[in-house]
């Protein structure tokens, strides 16, 4: 029996076991929405802006291990989705984004709500398709899901002209398919793994550097096995938080621009570095030449060959699925009865403990002003470290990454690569829908939250009881910090004047709003908010405006040249200019 293209789309999504489609209707997808109306196998979540649909689908994926699905109309619906797609692309998140397109005869005619979606998204998708023939629709959607989740994951766009959704075809959904030009490597090369094992066995100052690939590759168990059975220090990047338990002694915290003192020093001074699904990003290693100025051997495990030797030359590249490679590595390690250089490793740990003893995340507590770090610590305590935390982008994001110790993967949901303000709230929606029993909190700031605040309405409609923790410092805090440090305190356009009354705003959307203005009220307010399990609670926390994120590695500097918090100003190897005249280093 022949069915319409719109019905084919719905059947494909059902075949894929999709639970939620995040979207927004419009002229070009009206037939698909009609087909959705007639089914009840998956739920559609009506967002208030297409960007939020993609972020929600993205976080749905990040917090589970399923492919996220978004559906948008042509033209402005499609362009609104682009920021979400680019966000997912930079962090390698598997998504299928279905966009409507004008009917095929109208393509190229500058038709109403026409935009070249395939052209616009080409640089920020893993792949994209324009479906010109209804007979190819099902197999194209199958390919989209296959591409999105295999190899290095990423978003795939399927652009579907309106007439294709109306034309008829038989529905045949292939069980599997092979793409001759796309065969991702899964198993690592055993010879390379052997070399890596031998190199690691000879290490005196080893370090495991764990990135987002370990989360996406579901390799947390293997990472833990490697780190714990060998007794190695490790560091989780911003994208890798939770891949190894953040509260464990062997974890040195996050490396990079706002990483811990001990993690950055260990990154700089290790002699064998094992990168697991990490890509030596500029925010992590800063300047490659400085990073390599301390001689070290590098083992790099990644599913994407193009991530290897992109910024940093490595000694032993291993292309493969991180989970499988780590398993093979451990197997070889155990078979070969390798042992580490015990005395050297003990000395290395002693050095690390000395670095850690500086307690670089210590901050001055205040009786009158709420310190943002204090809020994150209390959030960690009140939620028992078990919540899924989404974040926006800026200072609050860094504080959340520093002070909330993630002990499991897929609990820390943030836009790491693209740095998309406005990500947090729609991400919280997606994470909550994927994990209905979990506690979900969105850590945000007064600037970021306003970039997708309309989604409070979506949360109301679908009873999504996330908790919004708004660290309100009345500034674009991270930019203000740079202006203070590098631009002579000229706070150009970073003061958020005319902020709304967030409490009233939350109430206007039908939620609970609470304002917290005194340090003593932070914990009680958090407890009260999280006790309201059925309600979205918006906590507007008025924080110290002058607080900066430390440690900090300025652009152009090495990892051991951090600007450190006040109590560490006399620490060697990381000069801290306390006159705050940093010069223009950016």
């Amino acid at each position: 029996m022949q069915i319409t293209g719109a019905e084919i789309v719905v059947r494909c999504l059902q075949e894929e076991g999709v639970e939620f489609v995040f979207g927004y209707p419009g002229g070009a997808v009206i037939d698909i929405y009609d087909a959705i109306f007639k089914q009840n196998q998956f739920r559609h979540v009506l967002v208030r802006h297409e960007q939020a649909a993609v972020h929600a689908a993205d976080a749905y994926s990040r917090s589970s291990d399923k492919v996220g699905v978004a559906l948008v109309t042509s033209g402005p619906g499609a362009t609104n989705a682009v920021t979400g797609i680019a966000t997912a692309y930079m962090d390698s998140i598997p998504l299928v984004v279905l966009s409507g397109q004008v009917p095929t005869p109208a393509i190229g005619m500058d038709a109403f709500q026409e935009v070249d979606m395939v052209g616009i998204t080409r640089p920020c998708v893993k792949h994209n398709f324009l479906v010109k023939n209804v007979a190819e629709l099902a197999v194209t959607i199958k390919k989209a899901f296959h591409l999105a989740k295999s190899g290095r994951p990423g978003p795939v766009v399927v652009d579907i002209p309106k007439d294709v959704t109306q034309h008829l075809a038989e529905f045949n959904y292939p069980d599997s398919l092979s793409v001759r030009s796309y065969v991702p490597v899964t198993r690592g090369h055993s010879g390379q793994i052997k070399k890596a094992v031998n190199l690691l066995a000879g290490a005196e100052r080893p370090l495991i550097y764990i990135g987002g690939g370990a989360v996406l590759g579901d390799a947390a168990a293997e990472v833990r096995d490697l780190v714990q059975s060998l007794g190695l220090p490790c560091t989780n990047t911003l994208m890798g938080l939770g891949a190894y338990p953040g509260s464990d002694r062997q974890c040195l915290g996050m490396p990079g621009m706002h990483g811990t003192y001990e993690a950055n020093m260990a990154m700089q001074y290790c002699d064998v570095l094992v990168a697991v699904g990490a890509r030596f990003d500029d925010r992590v290693i800063s300047v490659p030449s400085h990073f390599l100025s301390q001689p070290k051997k590098i083992i790099h495990i990644d599913v994407d060959p193009s991530s290897i030797a992109k910024r940093v030359k490595v000694d032993i590249p291993i292309v493969g699925d991180v989970k499988l490679v780590l398993r093979d590595m451990l197997e070889q390690w155990r078979q070969g009865e390798h042992g580490l250089h015990a005395a050297a490793l003990a000395g290395w740990w002693k050095q690390i403990e000395a670095w850690r003893a500086h307690d670089c995340l210590k901050y001055a507590v205040s009786d009158t002003l709420i310190k943002p770090q204090f809020v994150l610590q209390k959030l960690y305590e009140v939620t028992g470290g078990q919540a899924i935390i989404t974040s926006d982008v800026g200072q609050h994001q860094m504080w959340a990454a520093q002070y909330y110790r993630f002990d499991a993967p897929r609990r820390w949901i943030n836009s790491g690569g693209l740095g998309t303000m406005g990500f947090g709230l729609p991400a919280a929606m997606g994470a909550q829908l994927a994990n209905p029993d979990a506690t979900v909190a969105c850590v945000t700031g007064d600037a970021s939250i306003q970039m997708n605040i309309q989604e409070l309405s979506t949360c109301k409609q679908y009873h999504i009881p996330v908790k919004v923790v708004n660290l309100n410092n009345r500034y674009l805090g991270m930019v203000r910090q740079w202006q203070e440090m590098f631009y002579g305190n000229r706070y150009s356009e970073t003061y958020m004047d005319a902020l709304p009354d967030f409490v009233k705003l939350a109430e206007a959307y039908g939620h609970v709003g609470m304002r917290v203005e005194h340090p003593g009220d932070v914990e009680p307010a958090l407890r009260e908010a999280f006790a309201m399990k059925e309600r979205l609670v918006f906590l507007d926390v008025i924080t110290d405006q002058s607080e900066n994120v430390f440690p900090m590695v300025q652009n152009g500097r090495g990892l051991n040249q951090m600007d450190l918090p006040p109590h560490m100003r006399d620490v060697q190897d990381a000069p801290f200019e306390n006159n705050r005249d940093y010069g223009n280093m950016c």
């Binding site: 395939v118 792949h127 324009l130 030009s181 796309y182 994407d304 193009s306």
Partner: protein, 163 residues
């Protein structure tokens, strides 16, 4: 250093723009690019002449391989290869220049494929250097128009690029 890359890719709409977009997005150089369908109509063969450090060429190769529609990429510089480029060049040829131009075309194994009483159009095939040499050899003011295809390359001997 100059490299000549051979790429086998799916003959699909948009595949070319993915390759070109990759080069511009990542600030790689394209000195020339040729593409056409192969004997298998589902595949296209592309030759890209580029230049860059060894690190950059390695990244270009990896990034090309990452494109879903790219089936295979080889760097022809890695072993013996042959490359050819074709040029159509229209030159002024009047009076005593006419004989001189004919002789020059012969020396370069060119063929005159169109003649008017004032011009010759010469077809010239060879390496890109040879075509450059011809342009250098003739009086620059006599050149009216040039069209070059960009280089196509193929491995020597048994070396083949096929799926």
């Amino acid at each position: 250093m100059r490299h000549i890359l051979s790429i086998l890719l799916e003959n699909e709409a948009g595949a070319l723009s993915r390759v070109v977009g990759l080069f511009s997005a990542r600030a790689y150089n394209i000195d020339s690019l040729t593409v056409a369908t192969t004997e298998d109509p589902t595949l296209s063969r592309m030759t890209i002449v580029t230049h860059g450090s060894e690190d950059v060429i390695e990244q270009i190769t990896k990034q090309l391989n990452k494109l879903i529609e790219v089936v295979k990429v080889i760097d022809l510089n890695e072993s013996e290869h042959i490359e050819r480029e074709m040029m159509l060049i229209k030159v002024r040829s009047t009076g005593k220049e006419r004989e001189e131009m004919k002789r020059m075309a012969d020396i370069f194994r060119g063929r005159i494929i169109d003649v008017t009483d004032k011009t010759y159009t010469i077809e010239l095939t060879g390496t890109s250097e040879k075509l450059n040499a011809f342009i250098e050899a003739v009086d620059r003011t006599a050149i009216l128009e040039t069209v070059r295809t960009g280089a196509s390359g193929i491995g020597r001997g048994e070396r083949i690029l096929k799926i």
